[in-house]
Symmetry: C2
Amino acid sequence: MTRSICYAGDMRKRATAPIRAHPYHHGNLRRALLDAALESIAAAGPAALSLRELARRVGVSHAAPAHHFGDKAGLLTALATEGYRLLAATLREAWERTGNFLDVGVAYVRFSIEHRPYVAVMFRPELYRAGDPALVEARQAASELLYGPLRQLARDDPALDPLRAGLAAWSLAHGFAELWTTGALPPELGDDLEQAARDVLAYLFRPVPPSG
Amino acid sequence: MTRSICYAGDMRKRATAPIRAHPYHHGNLRRALLDAALESIAAAGPAALSLRELARRVGVSHAAPAHHFGDKAGLLTALATEGYRLLAATLREAWERTGNFLDVGVAYVRFSIEHRPYVAVMFRPELYRAGDPALVEARQAASELLYGPLRQLARDDPALDPLRAGLAAWSLAHGFAELWTTGALPPELGDDLEQAARDVLAYLFRPVPPSG
DNA sequence: CATCCGATCTAGACAGTGACAAGATACCAG
DNA sequence: CTGGTATCTTGTCACTGTCTAGATCGGATG
């Protein structure tokens, strides 16, 4: 989470207006609500999310969120979209930096853990509007970055079906991340996520030449 | 779901009492509520679950569920426990019937799809009491059935770390099932779950002898 | 500078929810 | 028949999401 939060008591406001606890216009309420939602989800999951509590925490009235997101589902749709964009950026960076397929998988796992609030929403489509155009576009972009590297790998090994092999890799990374976050994993695995992910992911495509 | 449901208008009641729409004692309210919950979760996910609506659908007062489960979390704890027991039975059956490791994975995927309501609760520990003794026991039993077959496989191939290899298999099956249910998979994969799962799971341990 | 207009936020109200307390009913052991 | 306990009901409370109407601000237009 690299974004900075712009709260109500912003310095810009104080220069022109007398000190007020609650200026009428927040400045960047949309972002503040999203950040508050991420915090809340990190603490108690998306099911326990309360729009009114977000509003309280940010210092606006209970109906203010509705204007920016229309709906609770609207807010979660925005979060999911942002999550898919962030995921796509993460995967692209990993692929361009290492050119290594395994590292993309590890990056996927790391993203799932470090940005758990996003992922907790992204893969619960019943919570948001899964047909939203911006969301669909962001999701497809992220998906493409998962399959792209695989197509390249399939050129070297004709026995590899890029679709199913990619799906296997995606499933493996996704499942490992989910099992890790739900705490379902045995403690003998240790707490070094990076190493554990690498060890486990390596079981896929073992016979494939060094790059994998 | 092999259990039969005992609803309010049971024949036994009618013999001794005049025809009543709502006899005071339901007969098997606990099971009826669990079944209603499964239906509701199948339709709208566990987040949208409403105890009062369950009570209405079963034909009891809004506070009746509290007596059997104490709490909404209590009901979900019961569901998760039951889910883990069912999963354990499914995996055991698959392993004893086929002795094939891949088939256990396929059974896991099939369970995740066919009993989606259970799984939707089981892997969202923030929704229930994850420390509940009965639940912990059921979860460990299911987990053991995932690792057991792997230990046997590791005897043939010393290079196999049973823990991490088992985790890879579990992650792969779990991730595939989750991606399938969220509809995140490309349509080119077809709609034959059994075949798709087999194809994808087969990418793990390819070099391992035929039994895997 | 004055004015208007749209974007942003507030205030109030409503039905629905989970949880709690107190009471009613049914069943069962004695 | 009777007392006691498990089961269920009724009433209530604070809280939530959503809807309505209204207040306030900021910036563009004249």
